[in-house]
């Protein structure tokens, strides 16, 4: 069947749609709801085309290709239509970043997404680096929205294992619902409610867990937006390497696509999007391999203690000791989590070097339990996991453990060797039917850990043995005559554990997987492991009196802190520790009442520490609040003062506006919000400013643009501004500085680097201003915005992002009790374009 698409003659297969045919021939047609693993749906309508002889614009995803058809996919009319369709779709999405005039500059300054609670724009969206919507918006040249968008005010759902849902980003493409149904026969999730309240969820308000979710992650994988996210991978961004390998948590041997960033494993998903994999394969692997307590170095026992040592020393020590146990007194015990190549080397070593017949290979049971006992008369043993009861080990004269995690067994060992396992090694592994499958190295092993065959080969060579000179796992497979193996991509049956998570394995090499992987503890199979959720303590003196989410992800918190309230001055900040284990984190004082002894903070949820803070309720107590800190802003009569405020700065600018006004200035306050629903404190600021202007990035309320646009316009118009003060995110403050500079207006920015003590003792808060180094906590927070090294500030603020992301990914699921205001924001807001 032949047809013409965009002037190109192509051949369609029987039953193919126009979209499928076009994509197969590398002709791209925009589409959102269609996904390669799913049947057509026709919901997003972005794939509209023109077909000669047909009226209107049919959707290419639902129109079958037919002989002789002439299709155009890229006319101006179509692009216009698609732009409008996308703009409409974006009306219920935090879409401001898409239509922002400074999108390029923003991307340059911060290419990676910043962590946040609820996402309010691309720059705090976990999907940013891979977002299909963003690509579409760029391609279609979307630059404005027809009417103000709405925000659904849905709580961030993070009470479930592994999956975070921020349905405020959902565009109702239905991919998730359809894939779930496709994968499991019946859908766990569905469209709930009608018309404007439609959303993705489970019937009867059940949790995913109760609704029978298998945690196969398919929905997360197909979602085109940041709405559904893998909690662990969420903030790592896009992997810089992807590799396909085989899952060895069980012998279903699913084919996995792994993503790593700088050598660290961050994501795992099914290679075959048509058949689900289980929760272990989809969600557990990165957290398991990245565990902070992995064995990283070899250890040799000296008296009571296991002493860290170098490989050379460990091998030497082992070789010397093992010589005394040649014969059947030696045993090696491994299980099938070691590759065929590893096991071959173990066996060869046992018989050829140790002259023993005791090579013992355990096949784990359905739970993954590998346990056995040592043959009578064993004096020396090498174990590759937690396989033997402690009591039996007492009789041994020499115990060597080669493993990925410490265990009751390794604690008793004379020598402990760190093994690279699973996605850290190459090799071959048999599946349940005996078919051999490839294991391919996708990430770096921790510390000094090495592949198992390599360790034993080195040992054998140190003991003078011949025939252990292998250079790679491939060389061993070759020797063993293993032909080239293939991943198990096609399969006729869903693996058992992907049908029912209760059927998954619990152990890997004798270690409970759920002890290493937080989310699994919610998905209990049996009594569970001892590792419980971390207890939180709130026993400080600083009580939270009130707490409101005044705008999405923006929390106003009133705290009892009389010593701070008594002395606070505009521009100062406090350092807060939520509990005794928290970081010390600075927040600007937005208000205080010396008489009542209270202070008010506006807190944006970002990482672990702010999250801890915003998850507290009125009545809870903070462990420590120190302040007021920092040099208060110099309040004097300047003439006209322009205050530019964004995000938490809108709160922080309040006391400054008041004080500047009291000092006799004309106060011009400009609050910038990404969209109308993110604006707050309007009335408050209106009341205390001579002139108040709201800008929105998407133009949904008042003036479109950034705060500095207003200032620059006024300066251009010849209005006199004597001083500009900017408080907000570094990007916004940098912008303000850059654009007022040509006009030579004094511009101050309140810097917010990482701090520790806040009293000038540590220097963590160093910033470069002009040629000088300043401590933001005691010399600042206000500095000349024209002199600040903004790139350095950004990078210093991100100094610990990798560590923070790891700890965030591991945090326990939390119930969304902080969200008391779900009401929908009205669409009808004042709108008044410049």
């Amino acid at each position: 069947m032949k047809l013409t698409i965009d002037g190109k003659t192509v051949t369609a297969k029987e039953g193919e749609t126009i979209l499928e045919c076009a994509l197969r021939h590398d002709i791209s047609i925009p589409h959102l709801c269609t996904h390669s693993a799913l049947s057509p749906f026709g919901a997003c309508r972005l794939c509209v085309v023109e077909i000669e002889g047909m009226r209107g614009y049919p959707t290419s995803c639902t129109t079958p290709a037919a002989e002789g058809m002439v299709v155009r996919t890229n006319t101006q009319a179509l692009q216009e239509l698609r732009r409008n369709i996308l703009a409409l779709t974006m009306l219920e999405h935090p879409s401001a970043c898409l239509v922002c005039d400074r999108r390029q500059l923003c991307e340059q300054y911060r290419p990676e997404a910043e962590k946040a609670g609820r996402t309010t724009g691309c720059h705090t969206c976990n999907n940013k680096e891979v977002c299909e919507v963003r690509v579409l918006a760029e391609d279609l040249g979307l630059s404005e929205l027809p009417v103000p968008p709405s925000y659904h005010q849905r709580p961030l759902e993070r009470a479930e294992p592994f999956i975070d849902r921020d349905l405020n980003l959902c565009i109702l493409c239905g991919r998730c619902v359809r894939i779930c149904k496709h994968q499991h026969g019946t859908a766990v999730i569905d469209f709930i409610d009608r018309s404007s309240r439609t959303h993705i969820g489970q019937a009867f308000e059940r949790s995913l867990l109760d609704a029978g979710c298998r945690f196969c992650g398919s929905c997360v994988d197909v979602c085109p937006t940041g709405s559904l996210a893998d909690r662990y991978a969420k903030w790592y961004g896009k992997p810089d390497a992807t590799i396909e390998t085989t899952c060895i948590f069980c012998d279903a041997a699913c084919a996995l696509e792994l993503g790593a960033k700088r050598g660290k494993l961050i994501t795992a998903k099914a290679v075959n999007e048509d058949v689900p994999i289980c929760v272990l394969g989809r969600f557990a692997l990165p957290e398991f391999l990245n565990g902070t307590d992995r064995l990283r170095m070899p250890y040799v026992r000296v008296g009571e203690v296991l002493r860290e040592t170098e490989w050379k020393e460990a091998i030497k020590a082992m070789a010397a000791k093992l010589r005394e146990f040649v014969g059947d007194g030696f045993a090696i015990v491994c299980d099938t989590a070691s590759t065929i190549e590893d096991r071959h080397i173990f066996k060869k070593f046992t018989s050829e070097v140790m002259k023993s017949k005791n090579y013992i290979e355990i096949k784990p049971d359905a739970r993954g339990v590998s346990r056995t006992s040592l043959p009578k008369g064993t004096k020396a043993a090498l174990l590759t996991g937690n396989f033997i009861d402690a009591a039996q080990l007492k009789a041994l004269e020499l115990l060597i453990v080669q493993d990925c995690y410490p265990s009751a067994v390794s604690e008793r060992a004379d020598i402990v060797l760190p093994a690279a396992v699973f996605a850290e090694v190459d090799g071959t592994i048999p599946d349940s039917s005996g078919q051999k499958r490839p294991l391919r190295k996708a990430c770096d092993p921790p510390g000094q850990a090495k592949a198992e065959w390599r360790i034993i080969c080195e040992l054998a060579r140190a003991m003078g043995a011949k025939g252990f000179a292998y250079k790679s796992a491939g060389a061993i497979s070759k020797k063993l005559g293993i032909p080239k193996t293939d991943l198990q991509v096609e399969r006729d049956k869903t693996p058992e554990a992907a049908r029912d998570p209760k059927l998954r394995r619990t152990y890997f090499r004798g270690h409970r997987i759920d002890e290493k992987v937080r989310g699994l503890q919610e998905l209990l199979i049996d009594g569970g492991s001892s590792a419980g959720a971390a207890e939180t303590e709130h026993k400080g003196n600083f009580q939270i009196l009130e707490k409101h989410e005044i705008a999405p992800n923006t929390h106003e918190i009133v705290i009892e802190a009389p010593e701070v309230a008594k002395k606070a001055l505009p521009g100062q900040f406090v350092i807060v520790m939520v509990d005794e284990k928290s970081e010390r984190v600075p927040y600007t004082l937005c208000d205080w009442d010396a008489r009542k002894g209270t202070i008010t903070l506006v807190v944006l949820e970002k990482g672990q520490s702010s999250r801890k803070l915003v998850l507290l309720k009125a009545g809870d107590k903070l462990a420590h609040v120190v302040g007021p800190l920092g040099v208060p802003l110099e309040i004097k009569r300047y003439g006209t003062v322009a205050l530019a405020a964004g995000c938490y700065g809108i709160g922080a600018i309040v006391p400054i506006a008041k004080a500047m006004k009291d000092a006799g200035n004309r106060v011009l306050t400009i609050a910038e919000a990404r969209s109308h629903y993110l604006s707050y404190y309007r009335e408050k600021l209106q009341a205390i400013s001579d002139e108040f202007i709201q800008t929105t990035i998407d133009g949904s309320m008042d003036i479109k643009g950034h705060a500095v646009d207003v200032i620059v316009k006024k300066l251009k118009d010849g209005e006199k501004i004597d001083c500009v003060i900017a408080i907000g995110c570094p990007f916004m403050m940098m912008l303000t500085g850059q654009e007022t500079k040509p006009y030579g207006v004094k511009t101050l920015a309140a810097l917010n680097p990482i701090m520790l003590d806040g009293t000038g003792m540590c220097g963590a808060c160093r910033v470069t201003v002009g040629e000088e180094t300043k401590f933001a906590c005691v010399d600042g927070p206000f500095f000349d915005a024209h002199l600040i090294d903004w790139d350095e500030l950004r990078d210093r603020r991100a100094a610990y992002s990798a560590e923070e992301i790891h700890s965030l990914g591991r945090t326990e699921p939390v119930a969304p009790h902080h969200n008391d205001n779900h009401k929908c924001m009205s669409l009808h807001r004042t709108r008044n374009r410049e």
């Binding site: 010593e563 701070v564 120190v626 520790l756």
Partner: protein
């Protein structure tokens, strides 16, 4: 006599290979037997030189005699008559420069291990749980504020509470101890030891107000005029890190020793992610400086898994660190690059440290400090690849209080000027001691000055 034959008893300690990777205390401490044996070496001089070497004049022969008799609790109380923090001093005092330096035995043989014995009796008393409360004089209804809960402030608090005054200690951080808590690492001074000393003061009735920054929450004049304090002692330490003012010093990966140590010690970053403060886990670390602070930073970095080199611009003989610390550091595998000075630090496009350029030095003529001045050797620059630089070249006094109290006289180094006989500042009723007066010095000097100040404050209050 057989007695002279007994050698100085060595301190049992963790093997270097083990301790290099854990945060447990390095020396285990004496047993009762070794303590008695060591005590028996003391000649009980009639005119003991050692006592004059001790900045707080502990009655050394008397407490050692009690040890020899096995009266450990009594011995501890003897020490405490003069020294508020014996468990701390026994661990971190440079005894080789003080009491032990003057010990008569030291002329021909090795001196008596006064520090180890002091530590032993203090630990013994604490572990026995049998801590006797000293007599507290009748209440005077006079109120004293101590600013800073470091060794200087704690000493003043301990002395004055026993004299019947009401004492409040104001501390900016969330924990007490000053440098003892945030600076000196766990493996050298277990935090439980410091905490026990502070708990003892609390039991005596000292009030601690944490999270309180004097100068911000209240100024000193306000404490005196509005809050009803009759006298104030300033013991705010030398908490303002100095940097070298070379290129690249603000790159990510360059830390002041204060920050590096505070993260680890106060914020317990080494227990991350159980604690929220992220640790600085890097591979190749250079520590710049040659003092105790440099040693502590280097040994902490080592324990966090790094390969560590100390870069110092003079020779080994000039290193201000205690010999024992240098020795411990070397034993643990820390490399010393002596007679080398950093010239600039080099970063990548994300402002992260990747290397440091140094220049070799040679020693020239002695300078004002009497130490031979290091001179750069032209053309000897070289590059060290690394990912972390810890700057441990000293601390300056924290300027917050002088800034908020212009009438307080300070020197050109920013230290507070005092009358050394009384530790009184230019403002009547306001006293100061410790690092804020002497610049970065030692625990025992801070305590010694605290002692003097407490005595003077007591006299001042009596007159008031």
């Amino acid at each position: 006599m057989a007695k002279e034959k007994i050698p100085r008893q060595p301190m049992p300690e963790q093997a270097p290979e083990d301790r290099a990777r854990n945060f447990d205390e390095v020396p285990y401490g004496y047993t009762e037997e070794t303590a008695i044996l060591e005590a028996s070496r003391c000649l009980k001089c009639k005119n003991p030189k050692c006592v004059t070497g001790c900045p707080v004049n502990v009655d050394i022969p008397a407490f050692i005699a009690l040890v020899q008799e096995g009266k450990f609790i009594e011995a501890a109380q003897k020490v405490k008559e003069q020294n508020t923090l014996p468990a701390v001093c026994g661990r971190v005092c440079p005894q080789e420069e003080q009491c032990e330096k003057l010990c008569v035995l030291g002329v021909k043989d090795e001196p008596v291990a006064v520090g180890r014995l002091e530590r032993f009796v203090a630990d013994y008393e604490r572990n026995s749980g049998n801590i006797k409360m000293p007599k507290i004089a009748e209440k005077t209804s006079k109120k004293v504020a101590c600013v800073g809960a470091g060794p200087a402030g704690l000493t003043v608090a301990g002395d004055l509470i026993k004299l019947g005054h009401e004492v409040t200690v104001f501390e900016a951080l969330q924990e007490t101890g000053g440098v003892l808590t945030y600076g000196i690492p766990e493996f050298r001074l277990p935090k439980a030891t410091v905490q026990a000393e502070v708990d003892y003061l609390k039991k005596l009735g000292v009030k601690f107000v944490m999270d309180f920054v004097v100068g911000r929450n209240s100024t000193i004049p306000e404490l005196l005029d509005k809050e009803g304090f009759d006298a104030v002692f300033i013991g705010t330490g030398a908490g303002l890190p100095a940097f070298m003012k070379i290129q690249g010093e603000n790159l990510v990966g360059v830390y002041s020793a204060n920050e590096y140590l505070t993260r680890s010690n106060l914020m317990k970053a080494y227990l991350f992610p159980k604690y929220d403060t992220p640790p600085i886990k890097r591979q190749r670390v250079a520590v710049i400086g040659g003092g105790n602070v440099a040693m502590d930073s280097a040994r902490t970095a080592l324990r966090l898994g790094a390969d560590v080199t100390i870069v110092y611009r003079r020779a080994r003989e000039q290193m201000p660190a205690r010999n024992e610390e240098i020795h411990h550091a070397e034993e643990e595998g820390i490399k010393l690059k002596l007679l080398n000075n950093p010239v600039r630090i080099i970063g990548d496009d994300r402002h992260r440290v990747v290397a440091m350029e140094c220049i070799r030095m040679k020693l020239g003529e002695p300078d004002e400090s009497g130490r031979r001045r290091p001179i750069p050797i032209k053309g000897s620059e070289f590059i060290m690849e690394l990912d972390t630089v810890i700057v441990a070249i000293g601390n300056k006094p924290n300027p917050l209080i002088p800034q908020t109290m212009p009438e307080l006289e300070t020197s050109k180094w920013g230290t507070i000027v005092v009358n050394e006989e009384t530790m009184q500042t230019s403002v009547p009723g306001v006293y100061a001691g410790g690092d804020i007066v002497s610049g970065a010095a030692t625990v025992i000097l801070a305590m010694g000055q605290g002692r003097i100040a407490a005595k003077a404050i007591n006299e001042y209050l009596a007159k008031k």
